[in-house]
Symmetry: C2
């Protein structure tokens, strides 16, 4: 750490005031004359004084640091979300520190412990799949508020904010059905996760409403990343006749699928329909542009930050589960019959 060893007493000496005056000045306390404060700040700056928040937090028994733990920053959607969240907290005057778990529960536990040991005031988490409250508890300081985004933590005692995935997937599926498709597949995601189940439920809801036989539909789970999705679709292609449309678990899966189809000489948006979920930036700057369920990341982030703030202030408030509406963005990948 090799800390700058100049401390409050040093500043006090330089400014010709007492320790506590400096402390007050540093906090911009109204108890001090502006003039005094200025004198102190000037001395501090000249000496290269660095506030030791560690000591302050210790003494004050509180902090303004919130720990953000993200499951996968290499997924553009989560990166976008993380950045949005960070900005929300920053705007609220909090300092946020971030860490990536790479979908690894051990790593997640370690990070949670570390954040707590460093005195995080609260935790914002996009949990690793399958995280339960019991996984979390032993690694959290008692009383540290946690809010979860995107993925719900089993136990129902943790505030949770997510897009309405079910409605979103349903809309995407309906869009394909509206074009007359009846042989459809749901592609990507891990069946044991709630997110998968919700998205699949949305898919099935549209299928059933349209009275499509379950014999016509296909479900192809896979780890939701580009590479695995690509491998999965490649294998599926080798097994014979394809459905008319793929409703994908996420954009990243949809990209993998689109590429796999491409390698087999099939064009999404011409030979076959593909939809994604998340609506990341790439959807509109790749060819074919990808039809996707837009997630209002900024809104999600704002609600999440608000929830954490509220819980920080009142740890007894009822647990809130908030679903943010989504919007289907229709683009080329799913429009087999382009508008005239």
């Amino acid at each position: 750490m090799n800390r700058n060893n100049i401390t409050i007493p040093d500043v006090a000496k330089a400014a010709g005031v007492s320790k506590s005056t400096v402390s007050l000045a540093l906090q911009d306390s109204p108890k001090l004359k502006t003039e005094t404060k200025k004198k102190v700040m000037k001395a501090a700056k000249e000496l290269g004084y660095v506030y030791n928040r560690t000591a302050a937090n210790l003494r004050r028994r509180s902090s303004e640091m919130i720990g953000m733990v993200i499951n996968d920053l290499t997924n553009p959607f989560f990166a976008e979300l993380a950045v949005a969240l960070e900005r929300c907290f920053t705007d609220l005057g909090l300092v946020v520190m971030m860490a990536n778990t790479s979908e690894d529960i051990k790593q997640q536990e370690k990070i949670l412990r570390t954040f707590c040991e460093h005195g995080a005031a609260g935790i914002l988490i996009c949990p690793v799949f399958g995280t339960t409250q019991d996984d979390l508890a032993p690694h959290l300081a008692k009383g540290v508020p946690v809010v979860s985004v995107m993925r719900q933590i089993d136990g129902d005692e943790i505030d949770f904010i997510a897009p309405d995935t079910e409605a979103g997937t349903e809309a995407a599926t309906q869009h394909l059905i509206d074009q007359g498709m009846t042989r459809l597949a749901f592609m990507g995601g891990l069946p044991e996760t709630k997110v998968f189940q919700h998205r699949l439920r949305g898919f099935m809801a549209a299928i059933d409403r349209a009275g499509i036989s379950h014999d016509h539909i296909e479900i192809l789970p896979c780890i939701p990343n580009r590479t695995v999705a690509n491998a999965t679709i490649a294998q599926r292609i080798s097994q014979g006749a394809l459905p008319q449309g793929f409703v994908c678990y996420s954009d990243v899966v949809a990209f993998g699928v689109t590429f796999g189809l491409d390698r087999a000489g099939l064009k999404a948006g011409r030979d076959i329909a593909v939809t994604g979920f998340d609506d990341i930036e790439a959807c509109t700057t790749l060819s074919p542009t990808l039809t996707s369920v837009h997630v209002f990341t900024d809104q999600l982030a704002k609600l999440a930050a608000d929830s954490l703030m509220k819980r920080l202030k009142d740890s007894n408030r009822p647990i809130s589960n908030q679903l943010v509406r989504t919007r289907l963005e229709i683009r080329e990948s799913s429009r087999l019959i382009p508008p005239a």
Copy 2:
């Protein structure tokens, strides 16, 4: 912060030992019998004790926390790099906290200050463009070691690790020249940055070696992201005859260009050649696959982590500037004449 108020004395009481024994046990000191340690750990666990690293760091006047400040996590390359860096530090037993600056110098200053106030042992930075040593200095605790990745900080007194961008771009350019192209463009990046200058220099080196007239070449700078690159190429297309190949500043720019060309009915890899730089995951899972200069992110991360570790141990060691070699990955986007 609402901290768990159980502390070392509480654990000591529960375990029937003294404060210092607990402290030693927590550090797994060899001075204690295994049995004693176990007893202590058990008591700690039962009480839900959370180590207060804040207090420990204060007392010990050191920390194992390194602050990682990243310019843009929404750029997949930097996200990949950040994750690789994080893993390196974690493997070294350090705890890393991350923050995103969104290419904003004010935000960067704030983050640096915050990390220092929290007692970071060292800082790993992918600095905002144009960052100078003078920008950094006032916000750093005296003596905190900093190492910079990807972008060099003016002043030459900060360890620096980056890919050999000049050689990489030169190889990409040469690859196009080898296919007989003589009308080429360098696309993307901000001219006032060193990275741009280096990449352009690599480009020009190949051009000049081939004896191509400067009248045949074009330089089209732009903010290096998908959307802006796309807008820039669209405008360029409207202005008339295009070069035979685009050597792009980065993959993200290349994707923007490819998409822009596509909208104009031109296919990269068929009508025109495009190369990128960074070789992010998407290069191999989009159609056409993108020829790119591969950056060995893991190696870069490892060298950067090592550099920071070394400086942590010896603040007087000479400044090191390390360039990591790159490798051109030739794919579809640049092969106008596919191998027979």
